[in-house]
């Protein structure tokens, strides 16, 4: 099990390294050099020189790359050019908001996706099934931010049930929940549509497996078979889809954070991009990649827990 976890960790390293190296290269390819791109045409040579010194861009390229790798290992990306503070500190301040937002949305998506898939697969080709499948197709095509704009319009602006935007710390649980319900719903419900499609297909597939006939031949009830045998079988493929959809979820979270003014990583990344604050862009990208790695690792461990064939290393 530990060996498996280490192996998965090694396989996930490119998730961090590749985007970071890509950013490293592209920053240096910017026309007029990164400092020139940053300061604009009016900058004096002295200003450019000073900025290059600050960013370590005067050193030979190989040296810069070594420094860059070192910064990844030390989790130190220097100071933000715009916010004048240590990047890692800035990011860590915002991490918990993003993490809460994403995790709550994940749970909501999983629960909603699984429940609807169970209902649909049990009434296969019935009216309820068709309606849910229709919803899922539609849900797959709705941009999360459009849904968010509409829901804010109706439920926050018109009906005033929820605040329009903003965040409250969990020390005030009621305000905290009020601020999170809309964003979590918007992000989760569309993710649930995707999960629903795969879970339903997988449940229908499991229902025709021979072990279902075995369970019936032993007199187990349809409910027991569905809840204990079919759902169990479905967990593994759902985990796979879930792992694959984490990227969409995190991407959606970044956009929705800016819309709902949640002080998380997405908002910070947007500030960084608007100011072309290279160290801050790199820091945000790094920690988002790190979240992806950790989330994938958690999915992998769940995966192993759900499937003994993986746990005992017999999976091909």
């Amino acid at each position: 099990m530990l060996l498996y976890a280490l192996k998965r960790l090694a396989a996930l390293l490119p998730t961090i390294l590749v985007p970071m190296v890509l950013l490293f290269v592209l920053i240096r390819l910017a026309p007029g050099g990164p400092a020139g791109a940053l300061l604009g045409d009016e900058a004096s040579p002295e200003q450019i020189q000073a900025l290059n010194n600050q960013l370590g861009l005067n050193e030979p390229l190989w040296r810069q790359f070594i420094n860059f790798l070192g910064s990844l290992v030390r989790l130190d990306f220097g100071d933000s050019l715009f916010l004048k503070a240590n990047v890692t500190g800035l990011v860590l301040d915002r991490l918990s908001v993003t993490a809460t937002f994403v995790i709550l949305s994940m749970i909501f998506a999983l629960v909603l996706g699984l429940i609807t898939a169970t209902i649909a697969s049990r009434s296969h080709n019935g009216p309820l099934d068709r309606i849910l499948v229709g919803f899922a197709v539609v849900g797959n095509a709705i941009p999360s931010f459009w849904l968010a704009v509409m829901l804010i319009g109706v439920f926050a602006v018109q009906l005033r049930w929820f605040p329009v935007a903003g965040y409250a710390p969990p020390t005030d649980p009621i305000a905290w929940a009020q601020h999170l319900i809309l964003p979590v719903f918007c992000l989760g419900v569309l993710q649930a549509a995707e999960l629903f499609r795969y879970s339903r297909a997988s449940m229908l597939d499991s229902m025709s497996q021979p072990f279902v006939a075995t369970a019936r031949s032993l007199g187990l009830s349809d409910n027991t078979i569905q809840n204990r045998y079919v759902t169990r079988m479905t967990l593994v493929p759902i985990m796979t889809v879930f792992g694959l959809s984490l990227g969409t979820l995190l991407g959606g979270a970044v956009i929705l954070e800016t819309l709902f003014s949640l002080p998380g990583l997405g908002q910070l990344l947007l500030t960084a991009v608007q100011r072309r604050d290279y160290p801050l862009i790199q820091g945000c990208a790094f920690f988002i990649a790190l979240i992806m790695v950790i989330a994938n690792l958690i999915v992998d461990l769940f995966y192993a827990a759900a499937d003994p064939r993986i746990r005992y290393g017999k999976a091909s």
Binding site: N140, A141, P143, G251, I255, I281, M292
Partner: protein
């Protein structure tokens, strides 16, 4: 040649019997035609008219006007032009490069182990975040968007084609071609590459859908496209503050994104069912 022609006719016939595919193709056609002829049938969307701010839908302004008095109907018709063009170009680049990478990775093991690691790394990084970061580094504008978008879309195509190429490599026809001394480039072009065609066709629709959504997301948060260029995402972002009373500002541009993506998803799903029944999701 005749084999590919019959496959094409067979595919189009099968698609014709699929109601979802027809609806999807119809929606797509609608969006494409509207985007092409927008300059002929609608007023200039950039004209600001402070006297007609936030006017509700009327005969003169079927979708109403926005906070600057611009015609929302015109904005919606024009809003897809830039993003569709950028997405189409990036998808073309990504599909061609991804296809080549996938075929090579499927055939050459060393290339596979190095390049696919990079592809995996890119793919597991959230595409929206990757795009935001790349545009952040490269700056706003059409060219950075196309570069960033292509990089974002390549890995999925490469991965799928690689899978098809890997199984093609095991085909007896490839074995026998190798046995009679066919050169590697010939094997790649004649035997391996055609196996990836179905996958690439399906993947193209998915890449287009991703592209539309990502560009819309970026314009929504004000990154990438020049804010003065009409775009669905941009229109939505100004609609936020004016939902009450100007709901029409939010409804119509959003509907346009939805219709485009829905069309692509429906066509893509139907194509997958017809071309690649194994991976169909029921």
């Amino acid at each position: 040649m005749s084999a590919s022609t019959t496959r094409f006719t067979r595919t189009s016939k099968a698609l014709f019997h699929e109601p979802n595919a027809l609806v999807g193709a119809g929606l797509l056609l609608l969006i494409i035609v509207i985007s092409l002829i927008a300059p002929l049938i609608s007023p200039d969307p950039t004209v600001v008219n402070p006297l007609h701010r936030l006017a509700p839908p009327s005969l003169e302004h079927p979708f109403g006007t926005d906070n600057l008095g611009r015609d929302v109907f015109a904005l919606t018709l024009w809003g897809g032009r830039a993003s569709l063009l950028i997405t189409a170009i990036s998808t073309a680049i990504a599909v061609i490069l991804g296809y080549a990478i996938g075929v090579l990775a499927g055939y050459f093991r060393l290339f596979d182990s190095i390049v696919m690691r990079i592809m995996d790394g890119l793919m597991s990084f959230p595409s929206v975040v990757l795009m935001i970061s790349l545009v952040g580094v490269l700056g706003n504008g059409v060219i950075p968007l196309i570069i960033g978008m292509s990089i974002t879309l390549i890995p999925a195509t490469a991965r799928l084609v690689r899978g098809a190429a890997l199984s093609a490599k095991e085909l007896t026809s490839v074995e026998s071609a190798r046995a009679i001394g066919a050169r590697t480039p010939r094997i790649l072009i004649r035997y391996i590459a055609p196996e990836g065609v179905s996958v690439v066709i399906v993947q193209t629709t998915m890449a287009l859908a991703t592209g539309i959504l990502v560009i819309a997301s970026l314009s929504f948060i004000g990154i990438g496209l020049d804010p003065s260029t009409p775009s669905w995402g941009g229109s939505l972002s100004s609609a936020q503050q004016y939902f009450n009373p100007a709901w029409w500002m939010a409804v119509f541009p959003g509907l346009a994104i939805f219709v485009t993506v829905l069309g692509l998803v429906l066509v893509g799903d139907a194509l997958r069912d017809v071309l690649d029944p194994r991976s169909s999701r029921g």
